[in-house]
């Protein structure tokens, strides 16, 4: 059951993550094409070989998204998937691409996540105040519109803060352990030229002295929005073996969804990444001990803590101790988010989780200049959407 491991990431591209983007603004479909072109070049494949795409929402249309992209690329496909898992999209995209390839319906699949600003429409009308709700749905009939928005339960910070607060009540809380996690990731980002926080490490005091945003989460434990973008090419074994990059086989995958609003989570401290990761490891036939690096979705510090526990790298309630006991830097005994994570890269919207997928591939391809994990062969990647409501996991393998 599951993937056989006959599909691989064979190329990628990743744009510089920039806090104040001054470059040319581009429509999402333009960015899609640019990312496709660059990732194909990296894999030394041509657009003529592409016969599948996996996308998420683009800014230019609310529907028929894959067809809109395929039409722009000028390349007919046999497999066109639109994934709607928020931050878990990139992980969800990659395993769907692998599944389509193993089914034999596609050979080369592009998974792209644009994250640059789009041009401003000079004809734009007055600002719709609903835009500022930052809610996923303010439509009539939406439970969120009726029972969440009126209380101001909006956006992400408060949901994650309530997870952290519950965790504190059940298991205790050591804010300096979470700060240490941030410090390690910022150290990793400090040697990653594509990261927004390149050459900008922080220490534990910087984190603990940063502004409280939503108790107990502080500013440096929360991702910073940036411009960026990235894409990967997933290909069949036949093609992968002819590509110049070391193939990064998709050995295992899993996905699990439980709710949209944390209020309706059965247990806030046990996240869906648990079952998703269990599926992925079982499918791959790989144990946690065999993992050389973890690229863990990190919209917040607390997300990483819960993922370390729920994915089985340590026991429930022992995550703080685990962080205290290990060096999570790229050269440490338990490398986590070797590119700096999104806390170090910045979060380029829906491209945020792609940084984790790309870094996993980069490490296995032995291309992580300056922060390469030695003999990196097996990488665990997680993706988190919503407020730990929809999560997915990959086990990537070199050989």
């Amino acid at each position: 059951m599951g993937l056989r491991g006959d599909a691989a990431i064979v190329g990628f591209t990743e744009w510089q993550h920039i806090r104040k983007y001054t470059g040319q603004k581009q429509f999402t479909i333009d960015q899609w094409a640019a990312l496709t072109r660059e990732a194909l070049q990296d894999a030394q494949l041509s657009i003529d070989q592409v016969n599948g795409i996996v996308c998420s929402s683009i800014r230019e249309t609310d529907m028929f998204t894959p067809a809109t992209i395929v039409e722009y690329l000028g390349r007919p496909v046999n497999f066109a998937e639109h994934v709607d898992l928020g931050g878990a999209n990139p992980v969800g995209m990659v395993w769907r691409a692998a599944a389509a390839i193993e089914l034999g319906i596609a050979d080369v699949v592009v998974c792209a996540t644009p994250g640059l600003p789009i041009p401003s429409n000079p004809e734009r009308g007055p600002i719709d105040p609903r835009r500022f709700f930052q809610s996923s749905s303010h439509k009539w009939g939406s439970p969120q519109a009726e029972f969440e928005i009126p209380f101001g339960n909006l956006a992400q910070n408060c949901g994650y803060a309530m997870i952290a607060q519950r965790y504190a009540a059940e298991f205790g809380y050591d804010e300096s352990a979470l700060a240490k996690l941030v410090v390690h990731q910022r150290q990793n980002a400090a040697v990653n030229p594509l990261a927004a926080f390149y050459q900008k490490p922080v220490d534990i005091d910087d984190v603990l002295e940063s502004r409280m945003i939503a108790d107990p989460l502080r500013m440096l434990e929360i991702v910073m929005p940036v411009a960026g973008g990235g894409a990967v090419i997933v290909a069949s074994r036949e093609i992968a073996e002819q590509c110049p990059n070391r193939p990064v086989w998709i050995a295992g995958c899993g996905e699990h969804l439980t709710m949209k609003t944390p209020t309706f989570s059965e247990d806030l401290c046990r996240s869906p990444v648990g079952p998703a990761s269990e599926t992925a490891f079982k499918m791959a036939g790989i144990s946690r001990e065999e993992v050389d690096a973890c690229e863990i979705y990190d919209c917040y510090s607390i997300t990483v803590l819960l993922t370390l526990e729920d994915a089985g790298f340590c026991n429930k309630g022992e995550g703080m101790q685990f962080i205290r006991d290990h060096d999570l830097g790229y050269a440490g005994d338990f490398p986590v988010n070797t590119h700096g994570g999104q806390l170090g890269m910045g979060q380029a919207g829906g491209a945020g989780g792609m940084t984790q997928v790309i870094e996993g591939a980069r490490q296995i391809m032995d291309r992580a200049d300056g922060r390469q994990v030695e003999d990196c062969n097996i990488v665990y990647v997680s993706g988190t959407g919503g407020i730990m409501s929809e999560q997915a996991a990959l086990v990537l393998q070199g050989a």
């Binding site: 600002i127 105040p129 609903r130 500022f132 709700f133 930052q134 303010h138 439509k139 009539w140 009939g141 939406s142 439970p143 519109a145 009726e146 029972f147 969440e148 928005i149 009126p150 209380f151 101001g152 339960n153 909006l154 956006a155 910070n157 408060c158 803060a161 309530m162 997870i163 607060q165 519950r166 504190a168 009540a169 502004r211 409280m212 945003i213 939503a214 108790d215 989460l217 609003t261 944390p262 209020t263 309706f264 806030l268």
Partner: protein, 137 residues
């Protein structure tokens, strides 16, 4: 720029809930087939998908499942409520709902504390269900 606060978009399904609040009553649905209490209001049981749901009065007493203190407004609309005391409350029948805490100092909030309902009449035809410490009332 000021924004009007977003109000609940009430639906035909939820009318008994909102009408109950106008009378300072907390009304929830219970499944007649499996006994599950349900929130938010809907037409199928969240446990067994039965359509035999009945509205019943409950005490509204609750405990605090989790909370946060939003130091910066979650949207400009809520700027005058900062810090926002957002809460996930668990009613004594077991269902959870999102609300805000009132009449309590941020430093006194504790996960697990006992809460009682506060019926906040924000318009002639609309009451929001907020919560306060059971000790204070």
């Amino acid at each position: 720029m000021e924004f009007e606060k977003p109000l609940p978009l009430r639906t035909p399904t939820s009318v008994p809930f909102w009408e109950g609040l106008l009378e300072n009553r907390v009304r929830l649905q219970q499944c007649q087939d499996c006994g599950t209490w349900i929130f938010y209001p809907r037409n199928h049981c969240s446990n067994c998908l039965s359509t035999s749901l009945e509205w019943k009065d409950v005490s509204g007493n609750a405990t605090l499942y989790s909370f946060t203190i939003a130091r910066q407004p979650t949207a400009p609309h809520f700027a005058n409520e900062t810090p926002q005391l957002l809460a996930i409350v668990e009613l004594d029948v077991g269902v959870r709902m999102t609300s805000t805490l009132v009449g309590i100092a941020p430093e006194d909030i504790r996960v697990g504390m006992d809460l009682t309902p506060c019926f906040d009449r924000i318009a002639d035809d609309l009451t929001l269900l907020r919560f306060t410490s059971a000790k204070a009332s």
